[in-house]
Amino acid sequence: MNKYELRVIIAAGTLLMIFLFSVLYAAYEKKIDLPACIPYNATFKEPRVKQVDSNTYEVYVVARMWSFQPAEIELPVGSTVDFYLTSNDVVHGFDIAQKGVNMMAIYGAVTKTTAKFDKPGVYKMTCHEYCGAGHQNMQGEIIVNYK
């Protein structure tokens, strides 16, 4: 290893460390984190929207060939939502692109993430994993309105 090679390795290492600290900053300060895992139980297979308090919701989403249940969710502006996701059959995806919500729906397992809806609008929930012949039809909506 000559001095140029060492400099290259140190520079690359430094850049990657900066990236790492940036994602850790996002996780701890901005609460931007990966989905969490929840031990499985069968109640997660019942699709429902549960209001916890005035602006906090829990949404239990079940992905199936080829729709999400619930397929349409209405929420007031300012809602903080915990999404719990599982699959009734094959592997599905669950992507709310505008919110950076990105999860996989897997049979016999539960994924969880949280999103806050500050702006009114229609947010699409798109299945982004191939799930059979009807995959391209699998999209749901979250409609966020003023109360």
Binding site: M1, N2, Y4, E5, V8, I9, A12, G13, L16, F19, L20, V23, A26, A27, I32, D33, L34, P35, A36, C37, I38, P39, Y40, N41, A42, R64, M65, W66, L85, T86, D89, V90, V91, G93, D95, A97, Q98, G100, V101, N102, M103, M104, I106, Y107, G108, A109, V110, T111, T126, C127, H128, E129, Y130, C131, G132, A133, H135, Q136, N137, Q139
Partner: protein, 560 residues
């Protein structure tokens, strides 16, 4: 050097078979961009369904072509650099298992009973022939590796104290990675999926199967990449007209790949249940580690090319980039390798994004992903395979390459095509465009309620890129098959342009010894994957029954 007829035939078969199948692979690539841009709103064309075509595209291009090529190129490097031929019987068994496996999987896919994509995630079920074919292809490739180890050991004994040639080190490291990671997928396929798809077992643990697949799946991408890396280190400096800047850098990079290629698979599963965030973060950091050997390579190859350019009188900081043999048709491998490297700058940079923990949520399973990996596997990997395949075809048949001008233009067309194609895909991905989706039926169909107008320009851009790529590929096929069916004009032989090293370097003994690296490899795999495996059992519920791609109800295989 001379190569026995037996090995010429083995290597040529292992080149011709996948390049022939690649015609279908490329056709289905073109069809993807046509469907997706909404030019057609159909589920199928010429009796092949969109997802069936996508499965063919993925399996042929990313698994069959790459595995056959790695074995063929491995034979060639072992024979050329060790001046010894591996065992004929083992090499033939290997070839036939791979061919039979490929034909079984191809029949399954063409019959429409295996439209499960190349990742074959359960509980979508394919016909057992598909799983069996995939397993035979993989197990077949092991047999070549086994005989190379024997050949290498013999060479080692006869040449004590001689450094292992870099290309041979690369081949052996690559197949060590391959052997270890394919144990996981072989277990998934043979123990979990095959009996389940035959109806002998009722359910399958989906999270476990997925974990095993990705334990294999990311190491797979290095298995694709290392033959190209071998060419970058051992051949590119020579054909550029210079010398390899550092041989030890190449060895270090290869050994880093050995320890870090496998224990990073969870970064494909950041959006999933069953892995604790700590497991995801740890493997994210390990993935950053496996970026380092590629950075080392970027510098070392850059320095080697600068050396070549300066030798031709280049001045200034970047003048060397202009003094390289880009259009030299008698030296066409340069064009293939340099275009691959240019794509890899962007393929690598976008790859770091994917590996970066929560950033993955912006890009996971969107069109950003195929945008990224077409600049890796369809970049340096694919171009190195194309260039080297026609090079070896010519040498080993004794036939001059036909249409050399075309052969030299192909990589540039491909480069431009991929850059446009990937820009379209990645831009679309950031707008939420899902990958692996027949967009033309719904999302890019103005008559459908799910129409997304913002995905029209992005898919159109991908279409333009895809068409340019297809033109490049067609020109290549034209030249390749014209050469294959041409007249023999010289004695068949094998030789590789081999770069000298710029400075005689001090030998670092650890860079010439597998054992410590192998031990380290297993330790890191255990550290990364024991917690992952434990999470899989901790968080997963009941197993899943099989499903057919056309039916939301589970299959009852007993009444089949």
């Amino acid at each position: 050097m001379q190569v026995s007829k037996a090995f010429r035939n083995i290597i040529l078969t292992e080149l011709l078979m996948p390049i022939t199948l690649l015609v279908f692979g490329i056709y289905h690539g073109l069809m993807q961009v046509i469907y997706r841009a909404g030019l057609i709103h159909q589920t199928e064309v010429a009796n092949i369904d969109y997802y069936q075509g996508l499965t063919l595209h993925g399996v042929i291009n990313a698994v069959v072509l790459t595995t056959f090529f790695a074995v063929a190129f491995g034979h060639a490097t072992i024979i050329y650099y060790l001046k010894k031929e591996p065992g004929k019987l083992m090499s033939r068994i290997s070839m036939w298992l791979m061919i039979i496996g490929t034909l079984m999987a191809a029949a399954a896919m063409f019959s429409g009973q295996a439209s499960v994509l190349y990742t074959f995630y359960p509980p979508l079920r394919a016909t057992p022939f598909f799983y069996l074919g995939a397993a035979l292809l993989i197990v077949g490739s092991w047999f070549s590796f086994f005989t190379w180890i024997k050949t290498y050991r013999k060479w080692r004994k006869e040449n004590p104290g001689v450094k292992t040639p870099l290309a041979v080190l690369g081949t052996i490291i690559n197949f060590t990675i391959w052997f270890v990671c394919t144990l996981a997928v072989a277990y998934e396929v043979l123990v979990l999926l095959l009996p389940w798809s035959m109806g002998l077992v009722k359910t399958v643990n989906v999270p476990l199967a997925r974990m095993l697949f990705w334990l294999f799946g990311h190491a797979l991408v290095y298995f694709w990449l290392l033959p190209a890396y071998i060419m970058f280190y051992t051949m590119l400096p020579k054909i550029a007209g210079g010398k390899l800047y550092s041989d030890n850098a190449g060895r270090l990079a290869l050994f880093l790949f050995l320890i870090l290629s496998i224990p990073v698979g969870v970064h494909h599963q950041f959006s999933e249940p069953v892995f604790d965030r700590s497991v995801k973060l740890f493997q994210s950091i390990l993935t950053f580690g496996v970026v380092v050997p590629s950075f080392i390579t970027a510098f070392t190859i850059g320095a080697s090319l600068e050396h070549a350019g300066r030798k031709r009188g280049a001045k200034g900081l970047f003048g060397w980039m202009k003094k390289l043999p880009y259009w030299d048709k008698n030296n066409f491998l340069f064009a293939y390798l340099i275009c691959g490297l240019i794509l890899f700058i962007f393929g690598g940079a976008t790859g770091i994004v994917n590996a970066s923990y929560s950033l993955n949520s912006i890009v996971h399973n969107t069109d950003w992903m195929p945008g990224h990996f077409h600049m890796t596997v369809a970049g340096p990997v694919f171009l190195a395979i194309l260039g080297m395949s026609i090079y070896l075809l010519s040498k080993l048949t004794g036939k001059e390459i036909r249409y050399k001008n075309l052969v030299t233009i192909v990589p540039y067309l491909w480069l431009i095509g991929v850059l446009i194609f990937s820009t379209g895909l990645m831009w679309g991905g950031l707008l939420g465009e899902p990958r692996r989706t027949n967009l033309g039926m719904t999302y890019t169909n103005p008559e459908n309620p799910l129409f997304h107008s913002e995905w029209v320009p992005t898919t159109m851009l991908a279409l333009v890129g895809g068409i340019i790529m297809t033109v490049g590929a067609v020109l290549y096929f034209w030249a390749f098959f014209a050469t294959a069916f041409g007249k023999k004009s010289f004695e068949p032989h094998l030789d590789f342009p081999t770069a000298e090293v710029l400075h005689e370097e001090k030998e670092i003994s650890i860079l010439n010894n597998f054992k410590p690296w192998l031990v380290l490899m297993f330790i890191v795999i255990l550290l990364a994957y024991v917690p992952a495996l434990m999470d899989t059992f901790k968080y997963s519920g009941p197993g899943a029954p099989p499903y057919d791609t056309n039916n939301p109800m589970p299959l009852d295989l007993n009444n089949f």
